[in-house]
C-alpha cells in the first residue's frame, strides 16, 4: 500500500534518522518516525519510544532486567524480573538473570570491565522469543533467547556459555575501535563469533573453578536434544562430531578453511587457537589466555583477519605478561596454521 509518504531506506542508521526527525515538523516528521518504528520492528526491537526510556536510566553497578517476549517477536516484551527481585516461577527467566549476573561478575572481577559497554550499561534479556525458535542472539542492545523447538534444541538459557557468548557480542561491539565491532562476515565475522565462544567458555570455566586442562571446551553443551548431539561446537576439537553433533563442520586449522564459509564454521580455527594458547599457558584460562584475548580486542580493526588477530594476541601477551606468554600464543596460532608476521 502506498501511503503517499516518502520511503526512507533502512540503510540509513536509526541514530541519523532520529536526529533528522528532530529537525522536521508535521507530516515529514511523522513519516520519518513511522520509518524508524518499522525499521525497529524488522529488527525485532522495542519501539523507539522505549529505546529513549531505557537510555535515560543512569549507569551504575550490576543492573539486570529480564523480559518475557511471550512467544512474540516484538522486543523487549513484558518486564518480569529486575535487579534484586526474587526468583520467579519461570526457569528461563531465572537462568537468564543468574547467568548474565555471573557474566557481569566475571567481566568486573577478572577484566575490570563494568558491563557490556564498560560504563555500567543495563543488561537486558528477553526470554521466550517467538515460537520454536532455535536460537539466541544479541540485537545490538540486548540479548534474546528462544525456547527451542523440542526436536533439535531445548531452551537456550540453560547453558551459561550461551549467555556469556551473547553478552560478549555486545562487549565486542563496544570494544573494537571504530564502533562497528568486528564486521560479521568473512574472517572478521568468524573472529566475532570466536571471541564470543572464547568468553562463553572462559566464563563457564571461571564459574566452575575449572583449570584449562579440566574443562570440556564445549560450546552449547546441553542445549541440543540428546538424540541430536551433545554440544554445538568444541574449541578443543573443532569438527569432532563424536563430542558435538552430526552436522559439525568446523575446521580446526587453515587447511580446512572455507573461503565462503559461514562465520560459525570458520570460527573453529581461532577457537582452536585459543584452546592451544590456554593449554600452553596452563593453569586457569581466565588468568592469562582470557586477559590476552580481551586486551587484543581493542587492538583490532573492524575488518580484522585471522593474521591480524594472531598479531594482536601476541602483542597483547607481551603487553600484559612476557616472552614466555608471547611464545605460547605464537605457537597456538602456528598450530592452527595461521601465518603472520609479529608486530614490531
Amino acid at each position: 500500500m502506498d501511503t503517499g509518504r516518502p520511503h526512507v531506506c533502512f540503510i540509513i542508521p536509526p541514530k541519523l534518522l532520529r536526529r533528522l526527525s528532530e529537525r522536521l515538523t508535521g507530516a515529514e516528521r511523522e513519516a520519518l518516525l513511522d520509518t524508524l518504528e518499522q525499521s525497529a520492528h524488522f529488527r525485532g526491537q522495542r519501539s523507539v519510544t522505549g529505546i529513549a526510556a531505557i537510555a535515560a536510566v543512569a549507569a551504575g553497578e550490576k543492573r539486570r532486567t529480564i523480559f518475557d517476549a511471550q512467544h512474540a517477536k516484538t522486543l523487549p516484551g513484558k518486564l518480569v524480573r529486575g535487579e534484586g527481585d526474587p526468583p520467579t516461577p519461570d526457569q528461563a527467566v531465572n537462568e537468564a538473570y543468574d547467568s548474565s549476573g555471573v557474566t557481569y561478575d566475571f567481566y568486573k572481577a577478572v577484566l575490570d570491565r563494568n558491563s557490556i559497554d564498560g560504563r555500567g550499561m543495563r543488561i537486558d534479556s528477553s526470554v521466550h522469543y517467538d515460537r520454536n525458535f532455535n536460537n539466541a542472539f544479541w540485537n545490538g542492545r540486548q540479548m534474546v533467547y528462544g525456547d527451542g523447538d523440542g526436536k533439535f534444541f531445548t531452551g537456550f538459557t540453560a547453558a551459561i556459555d550461551v549467555v556469556a557468548h551473547e553478552l560478549t557480542h555486545g562487549v565486542t561491539q563496544y570494544t573494537v575501535p571504530g564502533g562497528d565491532g568486528l564486521i560479521y562476515e568473512g574472517q572478521s565475522g568468524a573472529l566475532n563469533e570466536s571471541f564470543s565462544d572464547v568468553f562463553g567458555s572462559v566464563v563457564k570455566q571461571w564459574k566452575n573453578k575449572q583449570a584449562a586442562a579440566d574443562a570440556d571446551w564445549l560450546i552449547g553443551a546441553g542445549i541440543l536434544m540428546p538424540s541430536v548431539g551433545k554440544a554445538l561446537r568444541s574449541m578443543k576439537s573443532p569438527g569432532d562430531q563424536s563430542v558435538t553433533w552430526q552436522g559439525d563442520d568446523q575446521p580446526g586449522d587453515m587447511s580446512g578453511y572455507q573461503p565462503d564459509g559461514d562465520v560459525h564454521t570458520n570460527s573453529g580455527i581461532p577457537n582452536h587457537a585459543f584452546y592451544y594458547a590456554a593449554a600452553g599457558l596452563g593453569g586457569n584460562s581466565w588468568e592469562k589466555a582470557g586477559p590476552i584475548w580481551y586486551r587484543a580486542l581493542s587492538l583490532l580493526k573492524s575488518n580484522a583477519s585471522f593474521a591480524d588477530a594472531a598479531r594482536a594476541t601476541v602483542l597483547a601477551a607481551g603487553m600484559l605478561f612476557g616472552d614466555t606468554e608471547k611464545a605460547a600464543v605464537t605457537d597456538a596460532w602456528k598450530n592452527v596454521k595461521v601465518t603472520f608476521k609479529a608486530a614490531g
Binding site: 529488527r43 532455535n134 533439535f152
Partner: protein
C-alpha cells in the same frame, strides 16, 4: 511454484536455521494470488542474487530465498536491512503462510 526461505544467524548459525516452505499451488486462491503479487514486486527480473549490508553485525541474519517455478530456479541471499520494502514484506508473507519444517 515452491518458495523456500531459510534464515541463518545468531548463536546456532546454520545448525538452528529456520526454514519456511510455501507451495503456492496448495494455497487458497486468494492467498496464492496475494503471494504471487508479492513475488512479482519483490523479485523483479535482474534483481541481484546478493543484497548484503556493507558492514553486517551479529544481529543481521542472512536470508536465503529460493523460488522454484517448474524448471526455473531463482536463488537470492540478503540481509533485511539491505533488501527492498517489498522483499521484506515477502519474507513476512512467507513466514505467515508457511508451516516450519
Amino acid at each position: 511454484m515452491k518458495i523456500t526461505l531459510r534464515t541463518v544467524g545468531g548463536f546456532t548459525g546454520p545448525a538452528g536455521a529456520q526454514t519456511h516452505v510455501v507451495d503456492v499451488d496448495e494455497l487458497p486462491p486468494a492467498d496464492a494470488e496475494r503471494l504471487l503479487g508479492h513475488v512479482t514486486s519483490a523479485v523483479p527480473e535482474g534483481l541481484p542474487r546478493k543484497l548484503m549490508k556493507a558492514a553486517p553485525q551479529p544481529w543481521d541474519f542472512v536470508r536465503h530465498l529460493k523460488i522454484e517455478d517448474g524448471e526455473t530456479v531463482r536463488e537470492f541471499q540478503f540481509h533485511d536491512e539491505a533488501a527492498s520494502v517489498s522483499l521484506r514484506q515477502l519474507v513476512q508473507e512467507i513466514e505467515e503462510l508457511s508451516g516450519r519444517t
